[in-house]
């Protein structure tokens, strides 16, 4: 067997042109898979992190029952100030936690004195949110600061619809926690873009204390937790559930994954698309290699006859051709990985931009992630494609009659 492996390796080196064509076909397949797979992975990563860092956090803690009934009667499912403080103290002491902050969500009417628009908003800790919300961009004016109590950030679309400019004073109307109507003045500190048009058309972000004054409450809707690593979300949730239970806190925890329906839809769609493209690439590679291997068998017919005449069996001929295919697969796969990684780095460094996705308002930079699993997969697929496409030519070679093969010109 070792002799066959050695001869197969020498054959690969001897037939340079043929080997090169086969390797190029495998390289094409590997690079395509690495680059497209890396792009898809980067898109998942970007979308996931953007949702986590602009809206959801990794974990959200609510009063028990909020997920089920909170949308109908939000005022009944607020966390009291004391419970919120207790939750935040516990979470801050957990390992792997980057930021803990609390929000008071509300809906109301924003008026410039002439017209009003329905808005949904959030009262928040400006300093913590500025660090948490990597995906919220200030397009005009300044960021929010806790000391500017009456200031607020307004969505780009909302500012356009009301003709709002930075520095303008507006009136914000909302229901208080016990159902009455209240109003406060707000000063527009900045105009923001979240990248999602439907949010930018309605959103207002203000200082938490100002919104608590508006709603006449010291309670809050939720506590948001941003972890250092997204991968630790499930473990962090389990750990917090245990600690909250030990402290007899009547709360529930939802992860970003529970709340990110849109993300899961996108992942499902692109996983199907990537699977389909993978099949097409593998088929193209298999056809390319099969053609080259058939040509090799034709070219080497008299050589096969000589080997058989020297006493080698059909299975040894089969093993010889399949071994050559494995070598070509390994060489092609390794070259493919090198070129794929280079292509991924090059495209990422080029800072090319993609147009805004459906429903989005901003393009995003093309990043190609180098995914280790994908590298292994591409080398595996390279070898598999080389072997599959060599089976028929190898069988054909092994079944040649010695006399016919020796006579072949």
């Amino acid at each position: 067997m070792i002799l066959i492996l050695k001869i197969a390796f020498l054959n690969v080196l001897r037939n340079r042109r043929r080997s090169l064509i086969t390797i190029l076909a495998i390289v094409f397949g590997s690079v395509s898979l690495i680059v497209f797979g890396g792009f898809v992975e980067s898109m998942y990563d970007g979308l996931r992190e953007s949702m986590i860092r602009s809206q959801l956090g990794h974990l959200q803690v609510y009063k028990k029952g909020f997920s089920e009934f909170g949308s109908v009667e939000p005022e009944k499912y607020l966390l009291s100030a004391e419970t919120t403080r207790q939750i935040m103290r516990i979470v801050e002491n957990q390992p792997g936690v980057e930021i803990v902050t609390s929000r008071l969500n509300f809906s109301g009417l924003l008026s410039n004195g002439k017209s009003s628009v329905g808005v949904f908003g959030v009262g928040m800790d400006a300093d913590q949110e500025a660090l948490m919300n990597s995906s919220v961009k200030i397009v005009a004016g300044d960021d929010l600061f806790t000391e500017d109590l009456e200031s607020a950030l307004i969505g780009e679309g909302l500012a356009q619809s009301l003709g709002i400019r930075v520095g303008d004073w507006m009136t914000l109307l909302a229901s208080t926690a016990d159902g009455a109507v209240n109003a406060v003045d707000i000063k527009v500190a900045g105009i923001i873009s979240t990248g999602m048009k439907e949010i930018d058309d309605r959103v207002i972000r203000a200082n938490r204390l100002h919104i608590q004054n508006l709603m006449v409450t010291d309670s809050l809707t939720r506590v948001l937790v941003l972890l250092e690593k997204t991968e630790t979300t499930a473990a962090a949730k389990l750990s917090l559930e245990k600690v909250f239970a030990a402290h007899q806190l009547d709360v529930e925890i939802r992860t970003w994954s529970d709340l990110a329906g849109y993300y899961h839809k996108v992942v499902r769609m692109f996983t199907s698309v990537f699977g389909f493209i993978k099949i097409i690439v593998v088929v193209i590679v298999i056809l390319g290699i099969a053609n080259t291997m058939m040509m090799a068998v034709m070219e080497r017919t008299s050589e096969i006859g000589t080997i058989r005449a020297l006493g080698n069996t059909r299975s040894e001929i089969l093993a010889l051709f399949l071994s050559e295919a494995v070598y070509l697969g390994i060489m092609g796969g390794l070259c493919g990985i090198m070129l794929g990684v280079l292509a991924a780095r090059g495209i990422t460094a080029a800072d090319l931009m993609m147009p805004p996705p459906p429903g989005g308002t901003e393009g995003f930079p093309i990043r190609i992630m180098v995914v280790p699993d994908l590298l292994w997969e591409s080398i595996g697929l390279g070898i598999l494609a080389a072997v599959i496409s060599s089976i028929y030519p190898s069988l054909k070679a092994s079944r040649l009659k010695i006399v016919d093969a020796l006579r072949f010109v």
Partner: protein, 228 residues
Amino acid sequence: MELIMQHIYLIILGLILILGHGVSCAVAQTAIPDTAVERKARAAFLEQSLAREDHPEKVRELAMISAVIAGVDDPTAKATTRAVTILARATQANPGDSELMAAHGSVLTMMAKFQDQTSQQLRYVKKGFRMMDRALKKDPDNIGALLQRANNSLHMPLFLKRTHYAKRDFERLLDLAGNKVPGFRAMILYQLGQAHQLLKDPASAKKYWLQAASLKAGYWSQQAAANM
């Protein structure tokens, strides 16, 4: 290229000091040595000195020199991380120093380039800009802080939407700078032109580059002339 970068950073972090007396009393004074060798030697001396006794002014000087080392002489992850650590210490020792706070923020944004994941890059950028925003909130006319935020904003990728900060800060700097140092004014005019160009306003960009070129004040005037 290295010389040009050195020129830019020294202007950003050093020329502020030349203007300090004439323009803003708020600008703190830190002499940054001219060459990389001198900076390295001065940093080593300050570190030794600080090992013996803590001194807010010396920590400040070491922090500003470390920021220049990380930005110009040795732009590696190690040097930048070190600069962040020293700047954090200096900011603690000099809590009211807006320029130092802005330098801390500026070096934090530099950390982004050593991160693999976009989320981590954004985290550093966001943290860095928040510190610069906070510094300018406290001291809106601090030339050092304005220059750092303006330059950082100008060189950020466009999708981060920081260019309008660069435009606004350079406009403010233009008001504060006056005509005392033509080279400095030319630099601001040139960068302001760059900001307008990125904001897709080529007419304004050309207007500022023309002004910068007409000052005939060396490197920045030449750059502006070359852009037209």
